[in-house]
């Protein structure tokens, strides 16, 4: 009898103990608000992260992805900031543009980037390069600078490739460059090959992944590189001059520093402000483990075709916190992001 009582008592203690230690996320469902459209590269980045995040969250919750693309990421960011319950069950998989949109005081921003709780980003290294088609004979920077009316193609005004092209043109001091937006990414290259455009700025890894022969066979002239982060040398284009070597003033260096932060945040994961600290810490730790998991790197490369260069939660928080926000630098970057002619240096 005494043995039975002891057994029951032990069982009850074990049960209570088990309940006490049951991870919060066990049996829960986390909704990831993705500010990208389903099916695109942005979606693949999210899909590379989610299974590993689930694996490393204690309790292995179910994770569902809810797509909320629009407004260059504003729609999803506004929703995460204003409408979601900060209970640790809603995570934002944001576009990196949400940082720039706020710092540059763009319209439609109804969130405060500094109040989100940062979980990290799967990628932080993105180099940009500028190239011209070979038929133009602009094989050196001197020749490029001497040419007038170079037509530089891009996706849309404000798009990262558009701004990169404008930054190169501004720092090179090109004569009367024309910026022609309104292409899809593959269309820009096709227009370049057709002679409809003369140049474009692009993600260095993307261009070499898709058209390695342009570099190897010299079909395009590559002129310079914009390193993100600064000092991280690109394997194939590391020999090109870095854009900052053309900077003349502190303001111009700050301009590049600001733009590098906008790019270094990659595709950040965030929690809405007010999320309980202990739940935020669980998710931050899980994200750290996920990013360090070799399976994540394999999966990311398999799905996205790029190497993952994760930014841990504290690094992302620091990058956003330390973003230069000087008004005159912001104004200069706004001008360079817009449709107006380049400002004089």
């Amino acid at each position: 009898m005494r043995k039975t009582v002891a057994l029951v008592a032990y069982s009850m203690f074990s049960l209570t103990s088990a309940f006490a230690q049951a991870p919060f996320y066990q049996g829960k469902t986390i909704t990831v608000i993705a500010t990208t459209a389903p099916g695109g590269t942005g979606d693949l980045r999210v899909r590379a992260v989610v299974p590993l995040l689930r694996k490393h969250i204690p309790g292995n919750p179910t994770i569902i992805i809810e797509y909320m693309d629009g407004g260059g990421g504003r729609k999803g960011a506004n929703h995460l900031f204003r409408n979601t319950k900060p209970d640790g069950l809603t995570v934002g998989a944001m576009s990196g543009a949400v940082v720039a949109l706020q710092v540059l005081r763009e319209s439609g921003v109804m969130y405060d980037i500094d109040k989100f709780i940062q979980l990290g980003s799967p990628e932080s290294t993105t180099h940009y390069t500028i190239y011209t088609r070979r038929e133009l004979g602009l094989s050196s920077l001197e020749k490029l600078r001497a040419a007038s009316g170079i037509r530089i193609g891009a996706q849309s005004v404000g798009h990262v490739s558009y701004i990169a092209g404008r930054l190169f043109a501004y720092f090179f001091g090109l004569k009367d460059p024309k910026f022609i937006a309104g292409y899809t990414a593959p269309e820009v290259d096709a227009a370049l090959l057709r002679g409809e455009l003369d140049a474009r700025a692009n993600n260095a890894s993307s261009v070499l992944r898709r058209n390695l022969d342009w570099l190897e066979k010299g079909l395009m002239d590559f002129h310079a590189i914009l390193e993100v982060p600064k000092g991280a040398k690109h394997a194939r284009l590391g020999h090109l001059p870095e854009i900052e070597s053309f900077a003349k003033t502190d303001r111009e260096k700050k301009l590049l520093a600001m733009w590098r932060v906008f790019r270094i945040v990659g595709s950040p994961y965030m929690l809405p402000p007010g999320t309980p600290k202990e739940r935020a810490e669980i998710l931050q730790e899980s994200m750290r483990k996920a990013f360090k998991d070799p399976e994540f790197r394999r999966e990311f490369f398999k799905l996205v075709g790029e190497n993952a260069e994760p930014l841990m939660p504290e690094d992302l928080t620091k990058a956003i916190r330390d973003t230069p926000r000087d008004v005159e630098v912001v104004d200069l970057l706004k001008t360079l992001s817009g449709p107006e002619p380049l400002p004089p240096r």
Partner: protein, 516 residues
């Protein structure tokens, strides 16, 4: 060139491999089911309505799965469109109206099965010919497509916009107004080329413009449901008894194989040549049969099976021709293909030259789906002829609530944004009044679909070449082709209006004309 052929061959194989997934097959079967029901149900349902309701749902799917449903539905709906004309004497959807002239008399004299058999067999063969033409057109068009830059693409879009002449039917001024409104709506949001916000009013909802799929859903879904509720449209007469043998119709079709081939190419031609529109295809084929068949003067109109074979083969072949223009040039021939383009854009494809260059495998998937769905549709017709006839008696009281539920759920599913529900109601009301006051909604959709693309190509042309792009030989050639096509369109419209017995079919014609 050999490389290109090899690459297209690979694309054709890949296009087929894309379909080898259970979900794709199930989506196609679901599409076939929906298309069959739509074709047979008498409440004035049509493919535009099906596409409008399905779009918000399928654009969230993987592209091939969504395409399977849409193509499955549209492909089979043409094949099964002969039920109403043959059994009830009611002109079917656009493209199947001429069938009533001989199909109904056949039904009345106890040859309903024979007429249906001929319709299915001729439709299946027509579908096959249309599909093969589409498959053959891709390698033929690809070299030309590589030469197209922004100026040429702008002219192609302009050519597409001339489709307003077709979609406006008998109301050119109202068509232009509707298309202009569509173009205006296409400007809402941030303009990609300049970054300027247009008609955004500081509302994040409007930053990317209003979703075309929601507008299409509202414009076509709400008025149809309201119309059905208000008019209580349905079959009021009893069907003729389903007698005779389906295989007699098959034998008739095989005997008249040359008529099937000729009329199929009439259908393909109507599909490919921009501007003729689906509502004339059956009449052109019927007219061709009257002119070329022996004894037609005495027998046509009183139950001659050739009067069924001709329009049905042309109607089914036309879909293949339609897709040639839609997929290879990127502009729609009617509202169904306009909505198909909306779906392709939502999946990230840019129908036209870009898609041929970069997503040829998806185009071939469409070709395969078109062919396979056609075969399934034909088999369904043969296998379930009697059961399908009962579908034609479904009451409007069953349909209306279901339609409203699908419309609202569809609208909300796009972005899960309650604002979309307001938009669907607002454009639904607009669509109802457009329908009531005869402003063609397809013309508005055309303006909406092409507006953004036209602006983009025009901007790029002027920015890259100034006005010298107008002197490019390919631009001049395309402008000439567009002008000739436009002139032919107008002439075709006038002829079609004369040859169609409009007094007899005025109500149905008016409806199908708006929704072709």
């Amino acid at each position: 060139m050999a490389g290109m052929e090899t690459s297209l061959f690979n694309a054709a194989i890949q296009g087929f491999l894309n379909l080898l997934h259970l979900k794709v097959f199930l989506a196609m079967v679901l599409g076939v089911g929906i298309g069959t029901f739509t074709a047979v149900a008498p409440q004035g349902l049509g493919m535009p309505l099906v596409y409008a309701i399905a779009l918000p749902v399928v654009i969230k799917w993987e592209p091939i799965t969504g395409i399977a449903l849409l193509i499955g539905a549209s492909s089979v709906s043409a094949i099964c469109a002969a039920y109403l004309p043959i059994l009830f004497g009611i002109p079917g959807g656009s493209g199947s109206q001429a069938t009533v002239l001989d199909g109904y008399p056949m039904g009345k004299r106890g040859e309903g099965r024979r007429a249906l058999g001929a319709s299915f067999a001729a439709g299946g063969m027509g579908c096959l010919i249309g599909t093969l033409t589409l498959a053959a057109a891709i390698p033929a068009a690809k070299p030309l497509i590589y030469l197209m830059g922004s100026p040429e693409l702008f002219v192609v879009m302009l050519w597409g916009l001339s489709m307003v002449a077709v979609l406006a039917g008998k109301r050119p001024v109202k068509g232009i107004i509707a298309a202009a409104f569509g173009l205006l709506l296409a400007t809402v949001g941030q303009q990609a080329q300049s970054g300027i916000m247009r008609f955004v009013f500081d509302q994040p909802y409007l930053l990317d413009g209003i979703s075309i799929s929601i507008i299409a859903l509202a414009l076509f879904g709400v008025p149809s449901a309201l119309d059905l509720a208000l008019t209580k449209l349905g079959v009021e007469q009893q069907p003729v008894p389903l007698k005779g043998s389906l295989f007699d119709g098959v034998k008739d079709t095989l005997r008249e194989w040359w008529l099937v081939v000729r009329c199929s190419f009439v259908g393909v031609w109507v599909g490919i040549v921009p501007g003729l529109g689906s509502q004339v295809v059956d009449w052109l084929a019927y007219g061709h049969a009257v002119q070329t068949c022996k004894g037609s003067k005495q027998n046509f109109g009183s139950g001659d099976v050739r009067g069924v074979i001709a329009p049905e083969s042309a109607n089914d072949a036309k879909d293949g021709g339609d897709l040639v223009t839609t997929l290879l040039l990127g502009f729609p021939q009617g509202v169904t293909t306009a909505l198909f383009i909306v779906a392709l854009l939502a999946w990230g494809y840019l129908p036209g030259p870009e898609m041929v260059k970069k997503n040829a495998d998806v185009i071939y998937s469409v070709v395969w789906l078109q062919g396979i769905s056609g075969i399934i549709g034909t088999l369904i017709g043969f296998g379930l002829a009697a059961q399908l006839a009962k579908l034609a008696e479904v009451r409007y009281t069953f349909m209306v609530p279901i339609m409203f539920i699908f419309i609202l759920m569809g609208a909300f599913s796009v972005n899960r944004d309650p604002a979309d529900l307001l938009v669907v109601v607002a454009f639904g009301v607009l669509g109802y009044f457009m329908r009531r006051f005869a402003y063609p909604r397809p013309a508005m959709i055309l303006g909406l679909v092409l507006g953004d693309l036209m602006e983009k190509y025009l901007y790029r042309s002027v920015a890259s070449y100034g006005f010298s792009w107008l002197a490019r030989p390919a631009v001049i050639l395309l402008l000439l082709l567009a002008s000739v096509s436009f002139a032919l369109t107008l002439r075709g419209r006038i002829r079609a209006r004369r040859s169609a017995p409009s007094s007899f079919f005025s109500g149905a014609m008016a409806r199908s004309e708006d929704e072709s």
